[in-house]
């Protein structure tokens, strides 16, 4: 009798503690999948940017940066893209000297075919976009 009661208590506690659907796909709670999926976006994604900024996309398509996504340089823009008034949440312009340097500063470890310069010798601290157009750079 005591054993049965203990078993009953054990089963009640066990049912209460195990998450709903546990074991549906494996030894875990399937609800966790939805929790992870519902995290908010921070990067809007290339296709979203082009919906409004079609002209910039066309300029870029013919140049060396054709395969560089907008947010690779302009940073995460989901807040701007998803805002009711995107103009009210204007993105900050990129930090040009650091942005260009990270990719194009000469480094022996970079692939040899990738365009690189020693910025101090090349421009002496002058901003890259004084001469190069970032959306369609020409060598």
């Amino acid at each position: 009798m005591v054993l049965l009661a203990a078993l009953g208590v054990f089963l009640v506690i066990r049912t209460a503690l195990i998450p709903k659907g546990f074991g549906k796909y494996g030894h875990y709670s399937p609800g966790a999948l939805d929790v992870v999926r519902q995290r908010p976006l921070v990067y809007a994604g290339q296709e979203t940017c082009i919906l409004c900024h079609e002209d910039e996309g066309k300029v870029r398509a013919s140049g060396k940066h054709a395969h560089v996504a907008c947010e690779a340089c302009h940073g995460p823009q989901a807040a701007h893209a998803n805002a009711d008034d995107p103009a009210g949440r204007m993105p900050v312009l990129p930090d040009v000297p650091n942005l260009c340097r990270r990719c194009h500063e000469k480094d022996a470890a970079k692939p040899a075919g990738f365009p690189q310069v020693v910025t101090v010798e090349h421009s002496g601290g002058m901003y890259c976009n004084r001469c190069h157009k970032p959306h369609n750079p020409q060598l």
Binding site: G26, Y28, S29, P40, V42, Y43, R101, D107, A108, A109
Partner: protein, 253 residues
């Protein structure tokens, strides 16, 4: 009822009763399927995907865009990394390569001018192993391989025992300093399940990282694997890693 009474059931009766029970059970199951609310038809079906990543070492320029994008997208605390980039400098005759990754390369690398040795960049992230040691050691089932092949953590279930952090052969997990639960690369599960690519792949300027779906017959991964020599990290660990590296050097671990 006497003992003899119970023994009176003939084989025939037993089979008849068993048959009835079987029919009842099948009817019950069907009823449950009919009355139970049909699951909503979702655009994303987990069974149709098997996610992984391709990394082309020869395209990586070590800019750290992926590290910054990952930190932004996933609110990775400073000093911790879900993805990072290492610079290898391999000198002939030396047993160990020189590896550096200043702050995970979140701001790129200080340039090196040494041309007398072999040097290259290696982006690292969770290898989304199909036979993952981290999943095997979790005592509570808080970390798991999803049906579409992504290793995830159930934050509400994780005890923070750090067992998985030690089990991961690639060092891809950390204990979140505020949540006190384990955190790791989710392969941007919230993005890839709505048709976007991961934040790191989105931000990679040279296409060195590519999200791939092995179950999609139209995915370029199949052609890529046919055309190139690829390797996974630490294949001797038999973790069935799904992050493939093109032209990986033997010095990388």
């Amino acid at each position: 009822m006497s003992v003899e009474g119970t023994m009176d059931i003939s084989r025939r009766n037993l089979f008849a009763a068993g048959g009835k029970l079987l029919i009842l059970a099948s009817v019950g199951a069907t009823l449950e399927q009919i009355t139970g609310a049909a699951p909503p038809e979702e655009a994303y079906r987990m069974a149709d995907h098997w996610w992984g990543m391709l990394i082309d070492i020869d395209k990586c320029i070590g800019c750290g865009n992926c590290v910054r994008a990952c930190a932004n997208e996933n609110h990775v605390p400073a000093g911790f990394f879900r993805t990072w980039v290492e610079r290898y400098q391999v000198e002939e005759g030396r047993r160990q390569p020189h590896v550096d990754s200043p702050n995970g390369a979140i701001d790129g690398f200080p340039p090196t001018t040494r041309t007398d040795l072999k040097s290259f960049f290696v982006p690292k992230l969770c290898n989304q192993c199909a036979d993952s040691p981290c999943v095997q050691v979790c005592p509570v089932g808080a970390t798991f391989v999803s049906p579409d092949g992504v290793v995830l953590v159930d934050e509400s279930y994780c005890l923070g025992c750090r067992y998985c952090i030690q089990a991961c052969p690639y060092g891809c997990r950390y204990l979140h300093p505020a949540k006190h639960t384990v955190d790791k690369c989710t392969l941007c599960y919230h993005r890839i399940t709505q048709g976007l690519t991961t934040a790191c792949c989105e931000s990679c300027p040279t296409g060195a990282r590519q999200l791939v779906d092995f179950k999609n017959p139209r995915d370029p991964v199949h052609e890529f694997l046919r055309q190139n020599k690829v390797q996974v990290l630490k294949p001797y660990m038999a973790t069935e890693a799904k992050v493939y590296y093109k032209d990986l050097d033997g010095s990388v671990r």
